[in-house]
């Protein structure tokens, strides 16, 4: 068991991650600079830990593959493992064996401060230059000017519904939260503690008196209200999902007709004919902005850098973003998507759409919305509360 002494100042940095303040982390495990390069042509194998749909190697659909071309071009071998929740990603990275991970904002800081990652030398990644400016140097992947990865893209958790079974098409999250929902017993919800933020998000619209400004910055009262909402939702839920393929199977079998989802799930379901719709409801949504990061202990550093450069190259980023259904990170990808309106539909180049999308991040005791008069609930408590709630 690694002994990590995390000083309060480090937590303050993490908490006030939006402010890059003074003292740097003196955790010796994350010290040591980034790879100086230059990138050699050493062959190697990298184990890639990715969200489903991010590193497709033809096993889901033989026509969807941007891993094999990479392997052919660079001589590196790639083994992809997908995971279902950020918690799973953190645990797998910590147990070792993975070289590269695509981490959302609620996993990235935990990995950085846990000493599992190495900083990334962006000079060795030429494609980084074309990344949208508002995705560069974000607080969840850049600490003290040290970059820990390159962005993959961003998206919102959508409200998905089976078209034939849910009429009229929903425009609000109320169909999954309200006790009198006509879809009772056929709802699904995300099986991770981070889903508490979705409850908080709904309360932002329905109970403004609680004063929630950021669904990840919840004091005790707000947190209890979110848990109460979740308890109220439980009888409506058929299953909680963490495995997207199980979600797809459940929708096809008809046991689930609506719930929070990712665009990629809707795309897979609509593959042969249009069966589900997916919207961002009027209350807004939680979302994610993912970063490709490199493990501290990787043995194939050159292949790892080559992968990072490849995955955010305009052509691959376009493919990946289109397959998954998200806004790409590379500005040049927009011209290369098969559908010419892809970037428009996913709001890649605008800011209004994202104003009510709350990216996943790790809640900390220092409130992420800047409040200093109260203590907010840290993520470890979220996990405990979620476990207790799921088993009650």
């Amino acid at each position: 068991m690694k002994i990590t002494r995390v000083r309060k100042s480090v937590i303050a940095i993490a908490a006030g991650a939006l402010l890059l303040s003074g003292c740097s982390s003196s955790d010796s495990e994350s010290a040591g600079g980034a790879y100086a390069g230059p990138i050699q042509d050493t062959p190697g194998t990298i184990n890639v830990l990715a969200w489903p749909g991010y590193a497709e190697d033809g096993s889901t659909d033989p026509n969807v593959d941007w891993v094999t071309p990479f392997e052919k071009e660079t001589g590196c071998t790639v083994n992809v493992k997908t995971y279902g929740t950020s918690d799973e990603a953190v645990q797998l990275m910590q147990s070792g064996g993975y070289d590269v991970v695509s981490a959302s904002g609620d996993a990235s800081l935990r990995l950085i401060f846990g000493g599992d990652l190495q900083p990334v030398n962006l000079d060795l990644i030429p494609n980084y230059a074309d990344v949208f400016d508002n995705l560069k140097d974000r607080p969840w992947n850049t600490i003290d000017g040290a970059n820990y990865g390159v962005p993959h893209g961003r998206g919102a958790n959508v409200l998905q519904y089976t078209i034939d079974k849910v009429k009229p098409a929903p425009t609000s999250w109320s169909v999954v939260w309200e006790p009198n929902s006509p879809l009772k017993g056929k709802i699904t919800a995300y099986d991770s503690a981070i889903y508490i933020a979705d409850a908080a998000l709904y309360l932002m619209s329905t109970k403004p008196e609680l004063g929630i400004k950021d669904p990840y910055a919840l004091d005790q009262t707000q947190f209890d209200a979110a848990l109460a909402l979740l308890k109220q939702q439980k009888p409506l839920v058929a299953e909680y999902w963490a495995d997207y393929t199980k979600y797809v199977a459940a929708v096809q079998a008809g046991s689930v007709v609506a719930g929070t989802s990712w665009q990629v799930i809707a795309n897979v379901l609509n593959g042969e004919k249009s069966t589900v719709g997916a919207v961002k409801p009027k209350e807004g949504a939680t979302g994610w902005s993912d970063t490709w990061m490199i493990s501290k202990n990787t043995k194939s550093i050159d292949c790892a850098y080559k992968w990072l450069n490849w995955i955010i190259s305009p052509a691959t980023n376009a493919q990946a973003a289109e397959y998954f259904g998200e806004a790409p990170a590379n500005s040049k990808a927009c011209a290369l998507t098969a559908s010419k309106t892809h970037c428009e539909s996913y709001h890649a180049e605008e800011t209004d759409y994202w104003s009510n999308v709350y990216y996943w991040k790790t809640p900390t005791e220092e409130c992420l919305d800047g409040r200093t008069d109260v203590k907010c609930i840290p993520y470890a408590e979220w996990v405990k509360a979620w476990s207790s709630f799921r088993n009650s």
């Binding site: 068991m1 194998t45 184990n47 096993s59 889901t60 659909d61 083994n79 493992k81 910590q94 147990s95 070792g96 064996g97 993975y98 495995d243 393929t245 199980k246 797809v248 199977a249 096809q252 079998a253 897979v268 593959g271």
Partner: protein, 262 residues
């Protein structure tokens, strides 16, 4: 034993219900391996053999089967050695702490797999440096030892010590006695224990999830990853159907070997 008609009818009924209970879901698996519809809703929509051809050429399945066979073989070999050594000690000698050691040899199967899994995972990631092919074998061998131990210890008990004592009285030393007298008598138990151990290891998922390294995909792990995938789930059914058919013979042989001689 003479049984009344009602008793016989009841027993036949239970047997029939029991066998149908066991085999209806398996029939479904076989039927679904020919099902055109990928989502397995009942009733099936069409007949096709394409999944069988796809399974035969799927590289993931082949690699997974090879890894599983290798793991099971190594684990069984380790289990056979350790299990028979321990069985010989426990069944033939009385010593202080024998009961405690007997209990220890039941624990890997008595305690839930997830506990064994996370305990081993904790030790492997913190003291062994990570999860590899060998950590899987260690995990499997741990519960396979129990199975072999039980089979061999039971055989030792049934056998009684008289043959060995007679052999030594006639002048053979322990090693020769083991070679010519004991081993032939426990051989069947070793085979039965080995087969059961192989089967347990081959199908093990819970402990394997916690002890397999990043790229190690045994067959159960491959199945777990592909169970719900629309394009792969039917292949999973094919693999399962094939496994059922393939395993009937070794099981029958194992049963013949362990039957009591009356």
């Amino acid at each position: 034993m003479n049984l009344s008609r009602t008793a016989r009818i009841v027993l036949w009924g239970f047997m029939g219900f029991g066998l149908s209970f066991i085999y209806v879901p398996l029939m479904l698996v076989v039927i679904n391996s020919f099902n055109k519809n990928k989502s397995f809703n009942w009733p099936p929509t069409g007949f096709t053999t394409m999944w069988w051809t796809k399974a035969a050429t799927n590289p993931g399945v082949k690699d997974a089967i090879i890894l599983s066979v290798l793991t099971a073989t190594f684990a069984t070999v380790v289990a056979l050695i350790l299990g028979s050594l321990a069985a010989a000690a426990i069944a033939r000698y009385k010593f202080f702490g024998r009961d405690v050691i007997s209990l220890i040899f039941v624990l890997p199967i008595a305690l839930p797999g997830i506990v064994t899994g996370i305990a081993l995972n904790n030790v492997f990631t913190n003291f062994f440096g990570g999860l590899t092919f060998f950590t899987i074998i260690i995990g499997h061998a741990t519960f396979c030892v129990v199975v072999v131990f039980n089979n061999v210890a039971a055989r030792y008990r049934r056998m009684g010590a008289t043959y060995e004592e007679a052999s030594m009285d006639l002048g053979a030393n322990r090693i020769t006695t083991f070679r010519l007298v004991t081993f032939p008598m426990i051989r069947n138990a070793l085979v039965a224990g080995g087969l059961l151990s192989f089967g347990l290891s081959f199908d093990e998922i819970i402990v394997t999830t916690f002890t397999a390294g990043a790229g190690q995909t045994t067959l159960p792990i491959w199945i777990f990853q592909n169970l719900f995938r629309p394009n792969q789930a039917p292949i999973v059914n094919v693999v399962a159907a094939a496994l059922i058919v393939v395993s009937i013979v070794p099981i029958y042989i194992s049963q013949r070997l362990t039957q009591e001689r009356k």
